[in-house]
């Protein structure tokens, strides 16, 4: 619901006679266009000859192929809560949950497939994940010969974590206590002090 006070009316610009006549403005526009057309030096800077050259990325926020993070024990950090697949606007994440084989957790993904061809790399899954298990890596040159090949399964996504963890370490320290232990085992990993704030 948009409230009255949130609506800002922007006045249409008042046009001068030359604006109304179009042509002077068209000519002014052409000046800009032509300036760019003849500025040879600039051009070389802005275009990167991919794949021979690769652009430097800001690793922290680049949204490339996904990875599934591992906790310090090397287990998949995902708890199969389906938040990512719910948040996903492209419906490209397919999860099947199951009972985990580990005593400190109850749910884990038996299957975790991402259709990288359907994905729009919006990063919503990363935002939605309550345990920072899914992250987008700076890895962007992604090719495959078939559609099937581009559906990344859990093993592949975990492998991507192994490959990329040096470039982009896990954003937050792993938190394994989501109240999942049910109080039977007091010795569970706690969120670090910084995170608690």
């Amino acid at each position: 619901m948009i409230r009255d006070e949130d609506i800002m009316m922007v006045a249409p610009p008042t046009l001068t006679t030359s604006d109304k006549l179009y042509l002077p403005q068209v000519i002014a526009g052409m000046r800009t266009t032509l300036r760019h057309m003849f500025s040879v030096a600039k051009r070389a800077e802005t275009t990167v000859q991919y794949p021979e050259q690769k652009r430097k990325l800001r690793v922290e926020n680049y949204r490339g192929v996904h990875r599934l993070n591992k906790d310090p024990d090397g287990r998949v950090a995902c708890v199969a809560c389906f938040m990512c697949s719910t948040a996903c606007p492209a419906h490209c994440i397919h999860i099947e949950a199951g009972e985990s084989p580990w005593p400190d957790r109850e749910k884990y993904p038996v299957k975790f497939d991402i259709d990288e061809l359907r994905c729009i790399y919006c990063g919503m899954c990363e935002e939605a994940c309550p345990c920072d298990a899914i992250e987008l890596t700076p890895h962007y040159d992604l090719v495959g010969k078939s559609r099937q090949e581009m559906v990344f399964d859990k093993e592949k996504l975990l492998r991507i974590f192994d490959e990329t963890k040096d470039v982009k370490p896990r954003k937050n320290p792993p938190v394994t206590d989501y109240g999942l232990t049910g109080g039977q085992d007091k010795a569970v990993a706690r969120p670090t002090a910084e995170r608690k704030v």
């Binding site: 009972e99 985990s100 084989p101 999942l180």
Partner: protein
């Protein structure tokens, strides 16, 4: 399920002692006094606790059978009242009041002294089976705080220093009247009230 939920489906390996026929008879004797059998629950539990020292799983089942209730209904009552013990207690149960007056007068120090001396915590029993310890909501003797009860006998204004003597005293739980007088007798005659 490797993340393990407590298994409540199977009966525990040791269900503890059951009620003897004599005890059951004693419970049945209460039936005519109440409109429903369910109402016999509290006396029945007291009888059972008196007979076997605590209320075992087996005993709860027996009582449930007698009162024609699901056993869980008996467990409900047993766990609600702190004076029913679901595991064996020692010969003497030390109860320290944890209500405000006693706490202000040093019941916490008393509790700490008992716990360190006997090496047990709330609702636990010493290995030799002599003492159990529990905290109690109110012993109804605030004017004599801090209070300590040993079985059914009340000790008033107990200090941690007196504790050694108290523990050594074999008669510390001795009542000034017969124990049976404390409860309503089955057949309606008025019992003599203590204290």
């Amino acid at each position: 399920m490797s993340w393990q939920a407590i298994d409540r489906k199977s009966a525990p390996a040791d269900e503890g002692p059951g009620l003897s026929d004599a005890v059951k008879e004693k419970i049945r004797a209460f039936f005519p006094r109440y409109e429903t059998k369910r109402a016999v629950m509290l006396p029945a539990l007291h009888v059972a606790q008196e007979a076997i020292g605590y209320i075992s799983v087996r005993a709860m089942k027996d009582i449930a059978e007698l009162l024609e209730l699901p056993p869980s209904a008996v467990m409900d009552v047993v766990t609600f009242y702190t004076h029913y013990w679901t595991h064996p207690r020692g010969e003497k149960v030390l109860m320290v009041c944890r209500s405000l007056s006693c706490q202000l007068m040093g019941a916490d120090k008393l509790q700490h002294a008992i716990e360190t001396k006997l090496g047990i915590k709330d609702h636990e029993t010493t290995p030799d089976g002599k003492f159990s310890f529990m905290t109690e909501e109110c012993l109804a003797a605030c004017d004599h705080a801090p209070c300590l009860m040993v079985n059914e006998r009340m000790h008033k204004r107990v200090t941690p220093e007196q504790l050694d003597k108290l523990l050594a005293d074999a008669d510390s739980d001795k009542l000034p009247m017969p124990r049976s007088d404390l409860y309503d007798a089955p057949h309606g005659e008025k019992p003599a009230r203590g204290h």
